[in-house]
Structures are given as C-alpha cells and as structure tokens.
C-alpha cells in the first residue's frame, strides 16, 4: 500500500466564491497546494449536481467475497485498472457513459459487541455506504431488524453543507425518488436511503404524479403564498409552550419538525425558481425500467431548471423482496440471494445496471443551451448495501462514480484497492463537489484519502 499525502481540505468552490468576493468563509489555514483548485469547473458549466443511486442486494458473489462464496467468477471487477479500463460483463451496460468504478473497498467501522448482530453485513453495509458511520448501537435490535443511522446520508450531508449551496439553495435542497415499492419491512431504514440523522428519514416519492405536482404545480397567487408563509411564524410560536414541557428526546423531534418550517417558508416566499418549460404530466408504470424512465425524465427536467442539485434515486430498497419476473426470476430478490441462486442474482444485477444506464441516458440527452449535458455536471454515486447478499459479505462493495462533475471527476477510471476503506468514496465525492473535507468516516472508518485517480 502506498502512502499518499492527504489532499488538503480547501474546496475549489469555496476558493472560487472567495475570489468573486461573494461569501466570507472561515478557513483553516490552508496549504498553498490546497489553495489551488485542481481544475476549475469548465467555463460556462453550471454548478455541479450530486446524486445517489441505490440498488438492492449487491452483486453475484465470487471467490473474493469469502470462503463460503467460492466457485463463481467475478463478473464485476474490470480486468484492467486506470483510465479507459476494459469493461466487465456486469458493467457493460454503463460502458457508454464512461463511468468510473472503485473496487475492493469495504466498511471499516468498528462493531460493538452489544447489542449483538451489529456485524450483520446487511445493515452495516448500507449504513456505512450511505453515512460513512456504523449503525447506532443504542436501540439496535437484530431480532426485529430495528436499526437507525447515527448521521445524515451523503445526499443530505451535501444538500445542507454551506460549501454546496451557499446562500442560494435551489428550490428544493434535495429530491428523494423511489422506483420499486417492494420492501423487506414497512419501517425505517428498510424503505428509505436518505437520512437526516437518527430515526429521521426522507421517504422517497414513488408516485410520478406526486413528484410532478411537487415540482411543477406551483400556485401562481403570490399574495396567497405570502399569507401562507407568514402563517408559519404563528405555527412556530404556537409550539413554544409545548416544547418546554417535553423530555429531551421528544423535544428534539419536535424541534426538527419546526426547523423544517424554515425551508417551507423559504419556498413559499420564492418568487422565482420554477420551470419555464414544464414537461407533460407523467404516466406510471409497474415496470422498473419504464418507471426509471418516467421518474428520470421528471428529475432531469427539475435538474436542468435548477429546481434542485441533489437527489437520491432508490431503484430498489435494502433487502428488496421485488420479484424480477420480467427477467425470468420467479422469486423475491432477497430470497433468491439467500437461496444461493447465483444465476438469478447475475440476471437481476445486470437488469439493475441497465436501469442505471437508462437514467444516465436521460441525463446525457438533457443538454443546456451551451451544449453541456447533465452528465457533464453530475456526479452520481451508485452503490448497494453489501458486496453480495448470499452471506451478507461486505467485502468488494460495488461503487460507481458516474458523470464529470463539472470537470472535477475523471471519467472512465477503474481503481482497485483490495480491503480499502469505503469512506474514501465519500471523501472523493465531497472534494469533487467542492466541499471542504479534511477527512470522512466515523468510528474506525476515518480516512483523509480520496480514491486514487478519481479526482481531476
């Protein structure tokens, strides 16, 4: 393993904003190297976009996932590394988009012995992939599958970071979109991948009509909207007598509720920030590929109108029970994994990559008047909950980084680091987006390094 000098934390966008003289930002004393942006966003390119793409149940397992998983070829890891790697069978659907991939990474969080079961790769895997931290030990209950996060998922960390939106957030700081409604349990982290903190989830919108209404049905009566905005001050005041009577835990829940009023109030007061070109009302579909297309078109319209710059896209939820009958898999995905039906898992993984490709196709086809596509601006972090679902191994986590991120991300790179720290991905994402990031990862997963070769 080579030792790398950590990249200094100063962010490019911070630097650029400072240069324009817009916002004053307190900086740690930066090194000279850190002051020099690696590469400014290409001239004329709008601000970067961050997206989280999630698919369930990992990869078809292979020898490197563990002793019990031997006997199957690795169809995921490209045979060559570096730029212009030769694609692999499972990544082939994404080849046209020149996605970058990091392989060999795994969660590094410490696992407390009590309560038992926190080592379950399933829950540990998606928690580290999304938050960079472990499951919250307090309240963890393996028998009932009750778990919660300790901190925000990466999409929310970005959406609420001052380095990202600064003083002018988009209409929506983030959108949460879901495709398959199949779920392992009806509660908590089994049906959402976007978190604000413990027991605070952002459930995905699954209904295209509901997403459409949220994005494009903005009432035009500004006077009435102004009244609604003012009213929220009274709602906030009305809660004060209550909050002082509550215990600390419930008061924190109420305070988070009240803090959401700020964003809603801001939105009600916006006189701009709506789309000039509103797309047609969407259809719905039970077919994952078709629905990815429908939701993807709405998302692309929202992104190109700057209604948001952050999204999460949950194709399937953790441990999904979705039945991929359309590709010949007769049983729910979760069962298929545990049954050890490798061939089915391969078919389903290929299909899920095709769905991601469909989303990226739409981004590629969405081009602004300067000729730049959403793919040029976007950084889409694609990840699943563990390496594979047969034994819940967290070895060889699948990681995709798609898009150019305004020139900050190298496209078409494969970096392999066996037993590497998964949180290097978080560092890579944050630095590419221009967010100050001296290190990321928690409770044993801390790292100051980005995935090598990824940042431009």
């Amino acid at each position: 393993m080579t030792f790398k000098v950590p990249k200094a934390p100063l962010a490019r966008r911070t630097f650029l904003r400072g240069a324009i003289g817009g916002t004053t930002i307190a900086l740690a004393i930066p090194t000279l190297e850190a002051m020099i942006p690696r590469k400014a966003h290409a001239a004329g390119l709008a601000d970067p976009i961050f997206g989280l793409f999630y698919w369930a149940n990992g990869l078809p397992w292979h020898d490197l996932h563990g002793a019990e998983q031997v006997g199957h070829p690795d169809l995921w890891t490209p045979a060559t590394q570096g730029p212009d790697y030769a694609t692999s069978e499972l990544l082939a659907p994404l080849a046209a988009h020149k996605v970058s991939v990091a392989t060999g990474l795994e969660p590094k969080t410490e696992v407390p012995p009590d309560p038992p079961g926190q080592s379950d790769g399933h829950m540990r895997g998606f928690m580290v992939a999304l938050t960079g931290d472990r499951i919250r030990p307090e309240g963890f209950d393996h028998p009932s599958h009750t778990l919660t996060a300790l901190r925000p998922s990466l999409d929310q960390y970005v959406a609420k970071h001052d380095d990202f939106y600064g003083k002018s957030p988009a209409r929506f700081r983030s959108l949460e979109i879901g495709i398959s409604p199949a779920r392992f349990h009806d509660y908590g982290h089994w049906n959402a991948i976007s978190y604000n903190g413990p027991d605070s989830l952002n459930p995905a919108t699954m209904d295209p009509a509901q997403l459409y209404a949220k994005l494009f049905n903005v009432p035009g009566d500004l006077v009435a909207l102004g009244r609604r905005a003012k009213l929220l001050d009274a709602v906030r005041d009305d809660a004060q007598s209550l909050r002082v009577r509550l215990g600390a835990g419930d008061r924190a829940r109420l305070d988070e509720h009240l803090s959401h009023l700020d964003e809603i109030q801001r939105r009600l007061q916006l006189t701009s920030g709506t789309c000039d070109q509103v797309p047609a009302a969407p259809a719905d579909s039970g077919d994952l590929m078709e629905k990815t297309g429908i939701m993807g078109e709405l998302l692309a319209a929202a992104l190109s109108c700057d209604l948001t710059r952050v999204f999460s896209f949950m194709l399937t939820s953790p441990a999904t029970t979705h039945v991929f009958a359309n590709v010949g898999v007769p049983d729910g995905m979760h069962k298929v994994c545990h049954d050890g039906s490798w061939d089915y898992v391969k078919v389903v993984t290929t299909y899920q990559m095709q769905c991601l490709a469909r989303l990226l196709d739409i981004f590629q086809a969405t081009v602004d008047p300067m000729g730049n596509s959403l793919m040029d601006r976007a950084l889409v972090y694609g990840v699943s909950e563990y390496g594979e679902g047969f034994k819940h191994s967290t070895k060889e986590m699948p990681v995709i980084l798609a898009g150019g991120c305004g020139g900050a991300l190298n496209r078409g790179v494969h970096t392999r680091e066996v037993d590497g720290n998964l949180c290097k991905v978080h560092v890579t994402v944050l630095r590419a987006l221009g967010i100050t990031c001296p290190s990321y990862g928690f409770n044993g997963a801390e790292t100051t390094e980005a995935v090598s070769g990824m940042l431009a």
């Binding site: 209950d141 393996h142 609604r228 215990g247 809603i264 049983d331 049954d339």
Partner: protein, 595 residues
C-alpha cells in the same frame, strides 16, 4: 428488581440504564437458541412468564434509549432479579409524544369538517414492532412530510371556505368585521376540537390575531388562515399526553381528563374526540372508572370503533405484508392480483364477527371453523358458498372433517408467510412464535449459511431439505423451535391451496409445539385453545398499540393484571378494551425524563 416509588423519577438516566441492562437479555427467549438447546416447555402455566415483555421505550422520548431492547425477554419476570418475595409494584411507563398516524390525521380532519374533502398526500407511516403508533412516536417527520401538512391544511381550508354554505355551517355565525366576536367564538370552539382541549388565552389570542393580521380586509380570509394555522400546530398534529400530578397519590402522575379523552378516542376510534367526549372531560368525568366506562361503552357501539378494531388486528396480525405478495398465476392458477386483498378482507370480516356479532372468546380467531368467503376463497377452500361472488362475501362453516379451522389455515396467513415458488415452514413457524405467542426469534447469525439444499436425490420435499439444513448446529437451535410448528402447514401451498404432494412426494405435516407432538394445522389450533400465551399476547400487543411504545419492565405488574382480568372475562375483546381503558397502567404516566 423492584421499582420503588422514586426510582423512576429521580435520575434522568434511569430509563436509559434500564433499557441498556435489558439489552443484554436480548434473544434469551428461545433459551440457548444458537447453542441448540430446546426451548422451555410451553405448558399453559409457563405461558404467562411474558416471553416478550419488551422493554425500553420504542419512542424517541427517551432519546438514545429509543426502540431499545424491544424484544428483551423475560427480563422482568417475577422469578428473576428480585431477592424479595413480594411481587414488584407497578410503576407507570414513560410518556410518549406520537404524531397522528396518517389514518388518525384523516379521521380527525373528517371529524372537524363534515362532508367531502380533498385527499392530499401525507408522509407514509412506518410500523416498527408492528404498530403505526410506535412509528409515530419514535420517528421524526421529514421536511416533505411537514410540507405535506402545510399543503394539506391549505387544500382542506380552501375547499371548505370555497363553499359559502359549508363555510357558514362551520362557523355557525356571520362575521361582520375582521376578527369579531363571531370569529373569536368560532376559533375557541374549533380550537377545542382540534387541540382536544380548550385553547389557552394565549393560543386564542394568537389565532384571533392571525384572523386579523392575515385577513387582507376579508374576515373569511382571516378565519381561513387561522384554521390553516391550527391544522399545522403541533398541538393538533401530535398527541400531547404528559399527565399531571395525581392529588390522590403523591409522587404519581395521571393523565388529565382531556388527555384521557384523546387517549380513548385514538384507541377506540382511531380519531379525535367528539364533543360529547370533550364535554365529559370538561366535567372531569374521565378521571373515574365510572366516567370512563360510560364513554367506552358508548364509543364501542359507534361504527368508528369497529373500523379501528379491525385496524388494530390488521397491524397485530401483520396483514400489511399481504400488499407485497406476488404470485405467478401460471404456477398458482387460483391466484390473481386482487387475491391478497380478498384474503385480508376475509380476516377483517372474521375479526369483526368475533368481536361484534359473536362477542365471545376472541381466541376463537385461531380455532373457529366459521369464516367469510367470496367466490375466489370458496374455490380456494373447496366450500359451497351460495351467494358468493367476486365482490360478495358470505359466511360459511368450514367442514368439520376438513383441513381448515382458524386464522392459521386461512389464505392470508398461509400466503404472506410463503415464498413465490415454495412454502416457508420457517416463516410460518416464526409467525406462530412471534405473532401468536409473542415470543422472540432471533435472525440467523451473521454469515451463516442460509442456503436450503436443493433436491439432491435424498431430500425431495422442502421439509426434507430444511431438515438437512438443520443438521448445521449453528442453525439447529432456532430452527428446532420454529420449523416443527411450521411443518404443520405443509399441506397448504404458497397461496393457501390444499395439496397432497410437494415436488411430487407425499407431504408430511407432522410437527410439534414445545415438545408436544402434533399432526397438521388443525391439531395446532386445538392445542392453542388452552394456551395462555395466546390471550396474553393479544393483551401485550393491544397495550403496545395503545401506548405507542413497547411495554416497559416496571409496567409488567399492571400488564399482568389486565391479562388476568381478560381471562376472567372469558377473553371477550370488547371487555378487554374496557379493562385496559380503566386500568391503572393506562391512566398513569411517569414524568418526562430530562425535561
């Protein structure tokens, strides 16, 4: 362990510590599960050792202790941890602060505004430990959930005020000026219904102020804005039930009369209180057993109670999982996409019949040969059902010499606890353990082999293949307690159709429960008839549903008292509601920790 009168209230960290200690007992229910030991014999008297008393609070009210040790076992049974011979005294459980569930919100809105209303989207509920109320008490609403509230309040108020007749009926007077006496009187009355208590002077002034400041010269716009604000207030959106010092029991807290009105109405109607209930609270009648009894009897006779009770059973029996069922009609010719919903309806009708028409022992749910079928279910069960159509359910008596009796032989249970291509004795056995008997089954240890071997020429049927799987000692402990009852259902395939063969080989539906040998599902139904765990489990689950959290260890004596009264009543469910509503456990509350 004994809960002295001050042990709870003294130290802010008390709950946290208790929950933490109980966390260590997690997974003990099926004693020595992983080591292959057999569970304790489940004779009837062992049934009330409260295999799953639960512990800790599933609510966020205890902060880091939330949802902890939910399935802690037997940790507080009388025989354990108490060197004293005297039984531990009851101490009240922690206060919770649940948001209204989606159905409670919609029902409360319907109560406030009679007539048709728009149905704006709301954040979906979650059901940790089976119950939406527990999700509502332990989670934080998201930004888009709060935005849903804002938009719903707007849409509802706009709809009501757009119709002058409806608006006038709501107000009951005609305002002559912005924020005049008519408006003030209306807001006081409306506020009482929405907040489930009279507004304070400050609140009344606040909303009257809004009716003035946001009126833009139009009194109706002002009132509409005040209504919109009240609908977004946490006093409406959350159930505020924090109690007051009980003058008759120093050191104790009890729910106020108004808080009791809210508790009773959300328990029995899944909605806010009506004026009569609020009037009873105003007269302070809901502090006495007599006053509560009168209201409970009245409320149970209301149609809203029937729907709410069905809703409780749907959660307790985990029927929501039916919505995730998908089967290939080529593999199961009797299946079509509406069938899971039909199966759910059957259970709802059966529950309603047992509670409201028969009024007898609710445990018959697990043993009765009476049920309700439409034409699909008649075909599935092979019974004559004159009058049944795809949309008409008729009562039928399942044949006395047939394979079916009780919930555990009906489509809903059999289908949702099976896979798309094969049955699952494991899921079915787990359901019997967890849902019917309130025991805890740990999941497979991390990394364990879950691969059920294929038909290798020796193990042909799923049962044989599972038995092979159980030869792994790591798996044997738990599977030995869940598979044997699960095998009893092997005559029913993944949509509940009766079958004689599995994979072309004869079915063996013998099994056992806690060591007593049984043959087939009806044998199990007979065995469950006098198993105390069944009735106790119903009480435990209703209690969790009612309290919006898991029951806590110090409440156990109170819970046991309810279980005993329920048994004395002959397990009549309506009686159970009354027993619960008048119980000490339901009417008292601990002080907020760390306020």
């Amino acid at each position: 362990m004994r809960w002295g009168p001050t042990s709870l209230h003294a130290a802010p960290g008390a709950l946290r510590t208790r929950a933490g200690a109980l966390g260590l007992t997690l997974g003990l229910t099926l004693g020595g599960c992983y080591s292959g030991a057999q569970p304790e014999s489940g004779d009837a008297s062992a049934g009330d050792t409260e295999a799953t008393t639960g512990s800790g609070s599933a609510s966020g009210s205890t902060g880091s202790a939330s949802a902890s040790a939910g399935s802690a076992s037997a940790g507080e049974s009388e025989s354990e941890g108490d060197t004293d011979d005297a039984p531990p005294a009851f101490e009240p459980g922690s206060p919770v602060f649940p948001r209204l569930t989606e159905s409670q919100y919609r029902n409360a809105i319907t109560g406030l505004f009679p007539g048709p209303l728009p149905r704006p989207p709301l954040e979906p509920d979650t059901n940790p430990y089976l119950f939406y109320s527990i999700g509502a008490a332990s989670t934080v609403v998201s930004e888009s959930g709060v935005e849903n509230y804002e938009e719903a309040a707007n849409a509802i108020a706009e709809a009501v005020f757009a119709d002058p007749a409806r608006r006038d009926a709501l107000l009951g007077c005609v305002p002559e000026a912005v924020a005049d006496a008519c408006v003030d009187g209306f807001l006081a009355a409306f506020g009482r219904r929405a907040y489930r208590r009279p507004l304070t002077e400050e609140e009344r002034a606040r909303w009257l102020g809004i009716a003035s400041s946001l009126a833009d010269g139009d009194p109706y716009i002002g009132v509409k804005m005040a209504v919109m604000g009240i609908l977004q207030s946490p006093h409406f959106l959350y159930r505020v039930e924090l109690g007051e010092a009980d003058p008759e029991a120093p050191g104790r807290r009890r729910f106020t009369s108004y808080e009791m009105a809210g508790r009773l109405s959300f328990l029995i109607w899944n909605s806010g209180p009506d004026d009569e209930l609020l009037d009873a609270a105003a007269a302070d009648e809901l502090l006495s057993e007599l006053g509560i009894t009168a209201q409970v009897q009245r409320m149970l006779d209301d149609p809203r109670a029937r729907i709410a009770i069905q809703d409780f059973f749907a959660q307790f029996l985990d029927l929501g999982r039916l919505s995730g069922v998908d089967r290939d009609p080529l593999r199961y010719p009797l299946y079509h996409p509406a069938l899971p919903e039909i199966m759910r309806t059957e259970v709802e009708l059966l529950v309603d019949d047992l509670v409201y028409r028969q009024g007898g022992d609710i445990r018959e749910l697990f043993t009765t040969r009476s049920t309700f079928v439409n034409s699909d279910l008649a075909a599935l069960y092979g019974v004559d059902a004159p009058g049944a159509t795809p949309i008409t359910f008729v009562p039928v008596e399942l044949p006395s010499d047939g394979p079916r009796a009780g919930l555990l032989t009906l489509g809903a249970f059999l289908t949702m606890n099976a896979h798309a291509t094969e049955t699952s004795p494991t899921l079915r056995g787990k359901y019997v353990r967890e849902r019917v008997l309130c025991e805890t089954v740990p999941p497979p240890p991390p990394g364990v082999n879950t691969d059920i071997p294929d038909d290798d020429g020796e193990a042909h049927t799923l049962r044989e293949r599972l038995e092979k799987h159980r030869s792994d000692p790591l798996c044997a402990g738990c599977h030995a307690s869940i598979d044997p009852p699960g095998f009893l259902f092997e005559h029913f395939d993944s949509v509940g159709n009766y079958r004689l063969l599995d994979n072309g080989y004869p079915i063996d539906a013998s099994g056992d429960l806690d060591g007593s040998a049984l043959s087939g599902a009806r044998d199990l139904a007979e065995r469950l008839k006098d198993d105390k765990r069944v009735g106790n489990c119903i009480v435990t689950q209703l209690y969790r549903h009612a309290e919006s959290r898991l029951n806590e260890p110090q409440e156990l004596p109170g819970l046991k008292a309810i279980q005993a009264s329920f048994a004395e009543s002959g397990y009549r469910f309506r009686d159970l509601i009354l027993i619960l509503a008048t119980s000490e456990a339901y009417r008292t509350v601990a002080e907020e920790v760390d306020p």
